[in-house]
């Protein structure tokens, strides 16, 4: 999979944008600025997904990550950070020794990864120039403009999920349900927690079952 021409130009533009915005996310002073830079990073990464032929995942990333998760981040920043601004500028980073250690380890990680990638890079280039790429390009339908090809990835993802990934799909749904219930529970105020208990003002248990005069449950 070798990009060339305008695609390689777009690759470098979006890749450098993602890296610079990621760096600024970590280094910004204001938390809202960090959130904005993270949105730029996520959109650049979505553009890289489109270059790789995964348009469905790019759409999901913009809708879910940028439109859901980052909006949630911004809400919580507004709720939580505003009073921090009133106290004046707090320190951003940990102590210099911690920062130095973290940067050294991150640099070691980067060098290790670069070494591994460079070592296997000739093998990627050689395998990518195999006939598979030409077969794939020949077998896809062209789009309406006649220039790009419609990659059938959305159909393939759907087919794969529903044929082979049915159980993980359902587990992911249950995970989302648990996350919803959990986050509602975690964000309750003290008054809401007290009012949802079945106790009266003295702390005695109050039954919520309605009984009629004979002591039976009402309606039976």
């Amino acid at each position: 999979m070798v990009l060339s021409g305008w695609e390689s130009v777009f690759f470098w533009v979006f890749a450098l944008t993602a890296l610079v915005a990621g760096l600024l996310t970590v280094m910004a002073q204001n938390a809202v600025h960090s959130a904005m830079f993270l949105i730029s990073t996520l959109v650049s990464v979505a553009a890289l997904y489109v270059l790789l032929g995964a348009e469905f995942i790019a759409g999901v990333q913009i809708l879910v990550y940028v439109g859901g998760v980052m909006v949630l981040f911004l809400f919580v920043i507004m709720l939580v950070n505003v009073s921090a601004e009133e106290h004046g500028r707090e320190e951003l980073f940990n102590s210099p020794a911690q920062v130095t250690t973290a940067v050294v380890f991150a640099a070691l990680l980067v060098f290790g990864l670069f070494y591994a990638i460079n070592k296997s890079a000739p093998q990627f280039a050689q395998a990518a120039s195999a006939t598979g790429a030409q077969e794939r390009a020949a077998s896809l339908r062209p789009g309406e403009t006649g220039v790009s090809k419609i990659s059938e990835d959305t159909q393939k993802i759907g087919g794969s999920l529903f044929r082979y990934g049915g159980l993980p799909f359902e587990i992911a749904s249950v995970l989302l349900l648990v996350a919803i219930v959990g986050s509602v529970l975690l964000a309750r105020t003290g008054k809401q927690e007290l009012s949802s208990d079945n106790t009266d003002a003295e702390g005695e248990y109050v039954s919520t079952v309605e009984t009629d005069a004979g002591g039976d449950v009402a309606g039976t």
Partner: protein
């Protein structure tokens, strides 16, 4: 060490390796995507370790997850080009990673709100009740 010494060697050795490097820069293939993913991952890790604000730590975790997603999708496209049957598995797994990231962000930010209500702070080093 290969990655550190190579640029110096290229400048010393003459034009053929320089042409190779120019070629690989003008026609990026899988390895360039992996390098971008690796750099994003390292930036995310540095962000988690360095910042004090809990919400910025969460945002660095999202950077890490995005780097992993980029790796998955780059390899999915590479496997499609080399004719592997299970090539779309990378994109399927990316969907699951996005789902888990959304769930984790929801719960993590709920925790941050609950923490702020009790301790009035969002800085990671001020939350030290369990410290010895």
């Amino acid at each position: 060490m290969n990655s550190l010494i190579t640029p110096a060697f290229i400048l010393l050795q003459g034009s053929s390796t320089l042409d190779n490097m120019k070629q690989s820069l003008q026609h990026p293939d899988l390895s360039k995507f992996l390098i971008i993913g690796a750099l994003l991952f390292a930036i995310g890790v540095a962000g988690v370790l360095v910042r004090r604000n809990i919400i910025v730590i969460f945002m660095s975790i999202e950077l890490i997850l995005n780097a992993a997603n980029l790796n998955f999708i780059a390899f999915s496209r590479y496997l499609q080009d080399t004719g592997n049957v299970n090539a779309v598995a990378g994109q399927v797994f990316t969907v699951f990673v996005i789902v888990v990231a959304a769930a984790e962000a929801a719960i993590g930010l709920g925790l941050v709100i609950a923490l702020y209500r009790n301790k009035e702070t969002i800085f990671a080093d001020k939350i030290d009740l369990l410290k010895w």
